[in-house]
């Protein structure tokens, strides 16, 4: 057979985050632990489909009138309206003034990509500033969207907290109008969030430099357990009348991971601009996948529009968030009990699904090899993957890594 036309194509490495699960699946050890990808697990270590989601699905399947016709390019209209209300607040003036355009997209990733491509086509500043560190997929999403990616200081390894003065300095030095990616809550991978005073300072600085905020909201309700509290930073920016983008994901807070449900909202200065922006968003989406998938968005819409189901959801969501907070405390206490060297209080100070342990890549490799613990090499662990039963094993591994490995 003649040479392949694809001969020059090399094997790509596994995705660093999703690749952790691939490696975990290959491991035969009975004590293996997957703390890689941020997918919630029950105390029994099982994936969870929320009861309210099952209920909504049953309703949809039972509804004889439902069809599978193409959605509009912008997706399910109800879903879009309800998603905007969820993040901006039902009484948001921006919504009431029709200044928000919301389009259904493929979870958080898809919303970020569509937003990025839109900005690369239509916004005058093609640079986006992302925090250091950030979710591993962010730089790739924005680069392929056509933006140039720069970073701003965020995590301070010395304090295992926020490098606030570095953050302010870097944003101050950004060119006027530049786009700035902000994690709405539960920063991934560090779990370190600004305080509300710090958020206010960030807002003032950004508005004074006409920097364009682009929020990534993947954990609303998951961070503190309260949907409203977790949306506060976004609402703070919208309240000042300015413009911003927000990417929402329902992967974690509704457990709809594989359904790929999310939304991109663009808050504009006026209704007319919002309408024109929406028409241009459609031109980005049509050549990418034509129109979005119906199943997940229908589930979300059914839950958000029904008072009882919505309440049921908030209860199940809080239970997930509470279990994670409890894992944080248990891990911290276990390390205290072992007398593991170092200050581990960041485990309980950080918020959301992930803990940035501060372990280096050698220590991580050691933990994988000797203890069959799978995590990303930056030292990020998904608390959602822990249970009371497995915490001792993790504590042993951390203790060994810190006391033995370099």
């Amino acid at each position: 057979m003649s040479d392949s036309v694809f001969a020059s194509i090399v094997q790509a490495p596994e995705d660093p985050i999703l690749g952790v699960t691939v490696a975990y699946n290959k491991d035969q050890s009975p004590v293996k632990l997957n703390l890689g990808v941020g997918a919630y697990r029950t105390e029994e270590g099982k994936p969870l489909v929320l009861n309210v989601v099952r209920k909504a699905e049953q309703m949809l399947v039972n509804d004889e009138s439902r069809v599978k016709e193409y959605l509009p390019i912008t997706g399910v209209a109800d879903f879009n309206k309800l998603s905007a209300k969820l993040i901006f607040g039902a009484d948001s003036p921006a919504i009431q003034e029709n200044r928000v355009t919301t389009v259904q997209c493929l979870s958080g990733t898809g919303s970020l990509r569509v937003g990025g491509e839109f900005l690369a086509k239509h916004y005058h500043e093609k640079t986006i500033y992302i925090p250091l560190p950030t979710w591993g997929n962010h730089p790739k999403v924005f680069t392929l969207a056509g933006l140039s990616v720069k970073t701003y200081r965020y995590y301070d390894p010395k304090t295992r907290g926020l490098d606030f003065s570095g953050l302010l300095e870097d944003l101050q030095n950004a060119p006027s109008g530049a786009i700035v990616l902000l994690h709405a809550c539960a920063h991934n991978p560090t779990g370190v969030d600004p305080t509300s005073d710090q958020w206010e300072q960030i807002r003032q600085l950004m508005r004074s430099k006409a920097l364009l905020p682009f929020f990534d909201s993947a954990y609303q309700g998951f961070a503190s357990g309260s949907l409203d509290a977790d949306a506060t930073p976004v609402r703070m920016f919208v309240a000042d009348g300015g413009e911003c983008l927000a990417a929402q994901s329902y992967a974690k807070n509704m457990g709809l991971y594989g359904e790929r449900v999310g939304a991109l909202s663009i808050v504009c200065k006026g209704a007319d601009v919002a309408s024109r922006v929406e028409s241009q968003l459609k031109l980005v989406i049509r050549p990418m996948y034509s129109n979005p998938p119906i199943h997940g968005a229908s589930i979300v819409a059914a839950i958000l529009k029904d008072g009882d189901m919505y309440t049921e959801w908030t209860v199940e969501l809080k239970a997930m968030a509470d279990r994670i907070i409890s894992m944080r405390h248990q891990l911290f206490e276990a390390l205290q009990a072992k007398g593991t060297p170092g200050d581990w209080s960041h485990i309980i100070k950080q918020i959301g699904m992930f803990t940035f342990t501060g372990l280096n890549s050698d220590q991580v490799a050691f933990m994988t090899k000797e203890f069959h613990i799978y995590m990303t090499s930056d030292g990020r662990i998904s608390m959602a993957g822990l249970s009371s039963r497995t915490i001792p094993h993790l504590a042993n591994a951390i203790h060994a890594a810190v006391t033995k490995a370099a």
Binding site: S4, V5, F6, A7, I9, V10, Q11, A12, L18, V22, P47, V49, R54, V61, R66, V67, K68, E69, Y70, P72, P93, L106, S107, T109, G110, R113, E117, H122, Y123, H124, K140, V141, L144, Q201, R203, Q204, L205, R207, S208, K209, A210, D240, Y257, G258, E259, R260, I266, C268, K269, V273, R276, S279, K282, R286, P287, M288, S290, P293, H295, G296
Partner: protein, 460 residues
């Protein structure tokens, strides 16, 4: 532009701005209005901090309103029309004789099964559901195909046809820089958008001959031959969209010959497997012809029409390579393209397909339902032809209606005539003269015949 004039660069970041003392570079006139618009807001919750943005114009002010999508926009216009005789022959979505959308029985059965099983909603791998990928490749190439036996196909689940085409287009842009894609004249309207957004240059090969309302075969072969060696040739596997005109098996052999001679790479768009003739295998014969020759090729698949899964967005991109080792590498790079686009594809549609194809009973039931859908379309073609020829007594040959295949018919009506169809007769179609027979009922054939005859004869 307004937004750049209103720069706040001189203000220190943490001081508050008095709107009446805003940067005097703004035209010097009354600061409270700009371009005639009063943009200093007073709100109930007015605080000093909210004044920090009171004077800014939208960053998106320069955006123009984009035109509606030429295909999907037709349905929007149809919905807005209140005329009782209105007929939607725009988008290619199957309708029953009662002109209702149709959810296949096998799909309902599969969804009920899935719910009973209570499967989880975990992320799929980037390349999609393994059971789906296996089933879709087998359906396309045939379970006995050597390309599958030798594991030479890289299959990645994509977002229906569009998403699968886009993955392939991005692969071409990255690994075949400068290579062109040849697309038929005409072709599905979104093809060029996909290649444009992926950054892949394209040019057209002759395809539709308006004189015969058939295939310009010589033109097609000539243009494929003339293209630079190593071009990608986009071919519709069956039921060409928008014309409904497919090459004959003999013509496919010649097309394959020319492509091999020029070291071009065939790139099939298969959106109607099973829908064209009613037979899954027959509709895949063009793809299998090429695969059996040992050629490398790309194939984008969609389950929107043949399983009625339009809004579930389920399809796949298949890349047939010269060896399984190459196929593995290609698959890994397709994953690298998908990850920054949407991370991993949606599960629901993939599971439905896997369940239907994976169960012998459901699979057989599917084949029956598909034969019914394809059968209904063939019968309205016949009815429309009979209706037109019984009313219209000129020597014009309308047999193309019967020769064309699949959901669409290229009527040969021009833009003005197509517009007449809509404005006078409330028949919605695309401006290129394409009608979707899937949206036609036997009951409306007479009405449509009148509209076509009128537009053809009385409008130029």
């Amino acid at each position: 532009m307004a937004s750049s004039l209103l720069s706040f660069g001189s203000a220190s970041p943490l001081t508050l701005l008095d709107p009446l003392k805003v940067n005097p570079r703004v035209g010097g006139s009354n600061q409270a209005t700009f371009l005639g618009k009063n943009f200093i807001k007073t709100k109930k919750s007015f605080t000093r901090t909210s004044m920090a943005v009171a004077v800014e114009v939208s960053k998106f002010n320069e955006l123009t309103m984009a035109p509606p999508d030429p295909i999907l926009g037709v349905s929007e216009a149809f919905r807005a029309d209140t005329h009782e005789m209105k007929l939607n022959l725009g988008v290619g979505a199957y309708r029953t004789e009662d002109l209702q959308p149709y959810v296949l029985d096998v799909v309902k059965k599969a969804e009920n099964l899935m719910l009973e099983r209570g499967e989880n909603k975990e992320y799929l791998p980037i390349e999609g559901l393994a059971a789906f990928n296996k089933a879709t490749a087998e359906l396309l190439f045939g379970v006995e195909s050597s390309v599958l036996q030798q594991q030479r196909v890289a299959t990645v689940q994509g977002l229906s046809g569009t998403g699968s085409l886009r993955l392939a287009a991005e692969l071409i842009e990255r690994y075949f820089p400068g290579a062109k894609v040849l697309i038929s004249a005409p072709t599905w309207g979104n093809h060029k958008n996909i290649f444009n957004d992926a950054g892949v240059p394209w040019s057209e090969y002759r395809y539709y001959d308006p004189k015969t309302v058939g295939l310009d075969f010589d033109g097609m072969i000539s243009d494929i031959k003339a293209a630079p060696a190593g071009s990608f040739v986009l071919l519709h596997g069956c039921a060409h969209n928008p014309t409904g005109i497919d090459p004959t098996p003999e013509q496919w052999e010649v097309i394959a010959d020319v492509i091999q001679e020029k070291n071009h790479i065939p790139f099939f768009d298969v959106a109607y497997q099973g829908f064209a003739s009613g037979s899954l295998d027959e509709d895949a014969s063009s793809v299998r012809l090429f695969a059996d020759r040992g050629m490398e090729l790309l194939v984008a698949q969609s389950y929107s029409k043949n399983l009625g899964l339009y809004s579930e967005r389920i399809g796949a991109i298949n890349v047939v390579c010269s060896s399984s080792e190459v196929a593995q590498r290609v698959k890994s790079q397709l994953k690298r393209i998908a990850r920054p686009m949407y991370s991993n594809p949606p599960i629901h549609g993939a599971r439905i397909v896997a369940n239907v194809v994976g169960s012998p009973d459901l699979f057989n039931e599917w084949k029956e339902e598909m034969a019914l859908m394809a059968g209904r379309i063939k019968s309205v073609r016949q009815k429309l032809y009979d209706s037109i020829t019984s009313k219209e007594k000129t020597s014009k040959d309308w047999s193309f209606i019967l020769k064309q295949i699949g959901m669409f018919s290229f009527t040969g009506l021009n833009k003005a005539q197509s517009e007449n169809m809509t404005s006078k007769w409330h028949v919605y179609m695309t401006k290129d003269g394409r009608i979707s027979l899937a949206g036609l009922s036997a009951a409306k054939c007479d009405y449509l015949a009148d509209a076509i005859i009128d537009s053809y004869h009385n409008v130029s």
